[in-house]
């Protein structure tokens, strides 16, 4: 397998019987993911679309031996679902839910320190190793197995990048959407590190956004540690200044939060820049040619 998910992944869905939970669980199964059932408290013991439903994540893990969970629980209750997955010992938790209060995530992140679980998201499209395993809401058919890793804060921009790669017959090893929320379970550096170590990945596309310093930190990490080429686009160069609220957020993150500042740091650190989201595929093609 490439990174994090593959044929060995055994998936359950939290919030399985809801509309989105059902639709995307079945889509993941149809893609070839080893889907085993789901959790909806109060509906345990029933069978939904041919798969067992459990009252708790613990029970689901005990009965199915799941090692991955996909969360579709509404934002009010999603942080609790993540904690329940951690408590049940799930190795990979992918939280799709959008709109979780950020202070809930501050608690979750702290509670996860020292646990053996990894959280991807929240507010993310999920993760896919093309041809093997899809956990999330991304359209499976645009992907193609191959050797380029993709990591992004934005869902639909990830699809855009993947689509451009596939059109050029450049396949992907694993595509990870880390989500757009201020506090997330997995950051750029976590995934870059995995791609660097992965023998099935030759190069990486990294898609960032304005705000925060994650891209600048990733750039510095790449310079020090990454031997594989990285191509990057930062969304929001055209976003007008002054729409930002308050001063405190900007101060704590220093001056690295605009698209221009991020591009500058990425370039200084040897990352290949795509200033247009339409150029990601082409830039990657060039980078791969140069490498071989």
């Amino acid at each position: 397998m490439a990174i994090l998910v593959g044929r060995e992944t055994r998936l359950i869905t939290i919030g399985y019987t809801g509309k989105q939970g059902t639709f995307h669980s079945l889509q993941s199964r149809d893609y070839g993911t080893n889907f085993l059932g789901g959790v909806t408290p109060g509906k345990g013991g029933t069978v939904h679309e041919g798969y067992p439903v459990f009252n708790s994540t613990h029970e689901a893990v005990k009965k199915t031996d799941a090692n991955a969970a996909m969360i579709f629980v509404p934002p009010k209750f999603a942080a609790d679902s993540i904690l329940e997955c951690v408590d049940a010992g799930i190795e990979l938790i992918v939280c799709i839910t959008e709109g979780i209060p950020v202070l809930d995530m501050v608690k979750v992140r702290k509670a996860m320190v020292g646990s053996k679980s990894r959280l991807i998201g929240p507010n993310c499209p999920g993760i896919i190793t093309p041809g093997e395993c899809k956990i999330g809401i991304m359209p499976g058919h645009i992907h193609m197995p191959g050797r380029v890793g993709v990591i992004s804060r934005s869902g639909t921009l990830t699809y855009e990048a993947v689509y451009q790669l596939t059109q050029r017959e450049i396949g992907q090893s694993t595509c990870v959407g880390i989500g757009g929320d201020p506090v997330a379970g997995t950051n750029f550096i976590d995934v870059l590190q995995l791609f660097e170590q992965d023998p099935d990945t030759d190069a990486v596309i990294m898609i960032g956004e304005i705000g925060g310093t994650a891209e600048a930190e990733a750039a510095r990490w790449i310079k020090e540690n990454m031997s594989k080429p990285v191509v990057s686009f930062i969304a929001g160069a055209s976003a007008p200044a002054g729409k930002r609220m308050g001063h405190a957020g900007a101060i704590i993150s220093g001056g690295d939060t605009t698209a221009e500042a991020k591009y500058r740091i990425l370039e200084e650190c040897g990352v290949i820049i795509a200033r247009s989201p339409a150029d990601l595929g082409e830039k990657m093609e060039e980078a791969l040619k140069q490498r071989s």
Binding site: V102, G155, T156, G180, M245, H247, I251, I252, G255
Partner: protein, 389 residues
Amino acid sequence: MNIHEYQAKELMRKFDISTLRGKVAFSVDEAVSAAKELGGSIWVVKAQIHAGGRGKAGGVKIAKSLEEVKEHAQDILGKTLVTHQTGPEGKVVKTLLIEEGCDIDHEYYAGVVLDRATGLVTFMGSSEGGVEIEKVAEETPEKIIKVAIDPAVGFTPFVGRKLAYGMGIPAEQVKGAMKFFEGLYNLYLSCDCTIAEINPLVSTKGGDILALDAKLNFDSNALFRHPDIESYRDPNEESEKEMEAAKFDLSYIELDGSIGCLVNGAGLAMGTMDIIKLHGGEPANFLDVGGSATRETVEKAFSIILSDENVKAILVNIFGGIMKCDIIAEGIVAAARVLGINVPLVVRLEGTNVALGKKILNESDLKIIAAEDLNDAAHKAVLAAKGEI
């Protein structure tokens, strides 16, 4: 979500955070009677708008008599204030806060914010208050002290001491400052703030520590558990279109270009704006329809875009994931039927149910400029806005 200074102070008093006594006023008469009720011989007349930099723009004035309160209220009410946070169009003052005066000994800065890098709620304090804190951060970063709070432990006395001594607050006032910081932290957590900023935080000649100004911002994702804060919302302060969009779970920000954008996903929406600019055009808005849009919300999105008379062309860029292309297509057809789209419409669809989406558009009698990919879409939208296709 933002609230006014007078509302922020009302909330702060509930958390035992010291502020000056004050009263809100919506007319000149109310301003004068507020000053009378407060008593004393000195008052501050403060414009209430959702933006910083009011003092410099002439929105904060000191009055030494009731006559002066009246003059200042007359002057400020109805005035358009332009500050570095309002944008060039400025904001009209409709509300005043009348506060008692105080003898300031020193002005400090205190802020609570979420540090994205660490994922922790973090206090910031500085001996340099009453000025633009960005400048302090840039020129003398050593004058800003930061203390992160462990969510499992919460606020403890050492955090208060570390801040107070670090900010250079005199020893005899440290206790008061600690109480202030603890209250501010409790408010931040209890109310799901994203920013709580006190600039300036002042020590008075009498030895009190209190908030002279207050800026609170709240996490809109958490408002479901704070109906009291939701009720502070001031419709005068928000764009009508942006509020209308929010009712339908659309994320919309008005800009001043000519190409209306309808996109799914915030990242792709920004990316679409970027590529329009790279092709020499200007986006008229940011609009993310999100993942759970229905035919009705797409129709609503169109009506909001079309209500902007600067819009000369519309670019629909959808990469379906959770959002299905056929839903968008149905929304476009419905909107065209109801609203009559009279500007060129460039559509690029890809992803989940794309074939079905394209079929719906083809079978309608709409004049649509189909785009193959992102570059093609931006190129055609820019030409269309110029009237060149």
